[in-house]
Symmetry: C2
Subunit: 426 residues, 2 copies
Amino acid sequence: MTNDYRPMWTGLGLNLEAHDALLKVLGEAYQGTFLSQKNHPEGMSYFDFVMSEVHGLRIKELQDVRSEGRKVVGTFCVFVPDELILATDAISVGLCAGAEFGFDEAERFLPRNTCSLIKSFFGFKLNRVCPYIEATDLLVGETTCDGKKKAYEIFKAIQPNLYVMEVPQMKTAQDRALLKSEYLRFKEELERLTGVVITAERLKRGIQLVNSRRKALSRLAVLRAADPAPISGLDALLINQVAFYDDPVRFTDAVNKICDELEGRVGAGEGVVPQGAPRILLSGCPMAVPNWKLPAIIENAGGVIVGEESCVGERGIRNLVDDNGGDVDTLMEAIVGRYFKIDCAIFTPNPERLDHVMDMVARYHADGVIHYALQFCSPYMVESYRVEQELSSRGIPALRIETDYSQEDAGQLRTRVEAFLEMIRK
Amino acid sequence: MTNDYRPMWTGLGLNLEAHDALLKVLGEAYQGTFLSQKNHPEGMSYFDFVMSEVHGLRIKELQDVRSEGRKVVGTFCVFVPDELILATDAISVGLCAGAEFGFDEAERFLPRNTCSLIKSFFGFKLNRVCPYIEATDLLVGETTCDGKKKAYEIFKAIQPNLYVMEVPQMKTAQDRALLKSEYLRFKEELERLTGVVITAERLKRGIQLVNSRRKALSRLAVLRAADPAPISGLDALLINQVAFYDDPVRFTDAVNKICDELEGRVGAGEGVVPQGAPRILLSGCPMAVPNWKLPAIIENAGGVIVGEESCVGERGIRNLVDDNGGDVDTLMEAIVGRYFKIDCAIFTPNPERLDHVMDMVARYHADGVIHYALQFCSPYMVESYRVEQELSSRGIPALRIETDYSQEDAGQLRTRVEAFLEMIRK
């Protein structure tokens, strides 16, 4: 990092010693996983820079913005509509954490049998190593899974500015009404927090900002249908991860810029892997920074990931919000309509997700699907059975992986992934 | 059992060999756990008989009733309103299973990290050893926890007459509307199944039947406040378990009869344990037949369980439904109002449950609380932290147990429970 951010971190209450340790691990992981890749596109330099400054410059920007009276809202889930947050001129940042850090402390509050993602945000908070949590004026949790839903109750005692939003579990008209009612309640909460009244004009701008980001990310996704793929799955995942932290306008420009470069590659038939390398669709749980374990194993073994059927990936970005409405209620309806389509495994039944996995396999010419579930994530763990069944019935190779944030199973995963790629190659 | 039920079981498609093995284990467990107790009340002979005929006479009754054209509805949760089922002259039976049976088969469909209760109903079905499931015209699941919600999707492929009801996760007006809408949908489903239109008169009768059962069980609960307790926790639990299977009128009479006997005991200062034996409140997950492991350990160690803060216990029976309404909508509103008060750990936040635990400790003069959670049951596992915190802040001894349906941890549990009772005695 270019500046001395230590006074800022101290001001945010971080534990500098633990934070140094985290940054060291993060930096090494990034170096080893990303910067050593072959044919790293030039346009990745922006995202490499963002990552190198993820706890530095970006936090400084947040603090600068806060000093002007604007607010920062932290979220844990793609069900929280960024459109509303941006409509108030607040900044939205994703708070899901992807590192095994502070799990011992987390387990003082939570059952051992809790997924790594939840333990991780507890661990980051309890160890005071996450400048985002500390720079946040409002944290937004949601009732997606049992683990998060109940863990937020304990988290609120540690982090009183936590707000919890309910997400329905089915897709009936009554469920849609519940989601709308929750989005209206959230809108009021944001208006109270920021002192800004969300007008149709503001809401439209919020929708357009997020739509532009989604369009750019979808443009990137589509380019990966080419054989050879013009960008590694690791790089594409990183871009999707950065989407949760970065300024949306600057980010969207950077994504479009790298897409221009990648279009050149596709046109020239160039790629990051030899043509014919096994093309893998990753499907399942979200991967938060720096959770790159499985993608790194897949790509180091000679596969290339051509799509992520995940919240940090296509589940988070597909479907735009109609911005044609002229009044707040019409625009709110459009927002509800878009988010109500999300095919997260928390819904029952959830046939849309199976359809979407099959659709992605076809669109991105995937040779096989690796289903990734965090251990103790019941919704995705249970649903993986049906995903595998559906894939098998169509003769599409599938591998189900259950893992966590530790490195303990890396060797075993490598063996399984290599065998899977070998099977595809034959 | 008094009759040869084998032709009936064969007719229901049971696997007789596996079923014989199950009945043998069940019979031995019942003999060892219940019939060896001291001061077993005479009124328990009815429930002992019911248990001895649980797969025999009761199933024959269901089949006889079905041959008359009436229907049997199986349920997995106290959120499914028996009032509606009884209003159609259908019979309601609880299908939660409490034995480690067929887990290997269940794990072909479900993650290993699934709670025993879910694995158990899968195992019973896959091994064809549960005559209740096979004698059921409609099975009703619900979206209470992630595990059940998602497992039902897989179960439906095995058991097509499964119907799933949504249960909300918060307690806002919108959540109440969702629950009401789901109860109205269920009412329509029952009307379709049975061909019976649920009139105000029928609904009132259903409400009164269930209220009478709840009143009798509450009468039993209150008697356990006496010191010495007039009935063991095991016997009281068994009565609560039988409530899910038995004919409600006959059952209610039998409960009131044993209450008469127990009132005599209380008046005479007689009990099942010496005065001063450690009085334990059990709090947490439901215990389905034959899940008697932890209560048996507690009472064999010299404690006496004086209340169950559980769905098979006070969470399932408290609060009556107002039966004063003159029309279906008013009665439906009363039903929704009663069930919406249930303080299951699936709700967030759920302060009512903490209050209720404290209230039960006071009312039943408990010396300590043992919180029981099934392994991988996130809602109760996570909430147990706050239950323990609240108890500790009031100086009430608390012990948190996480277990499953196996006997492997019985020795370890015994040691922990004995130490806990010893601590209370001092």
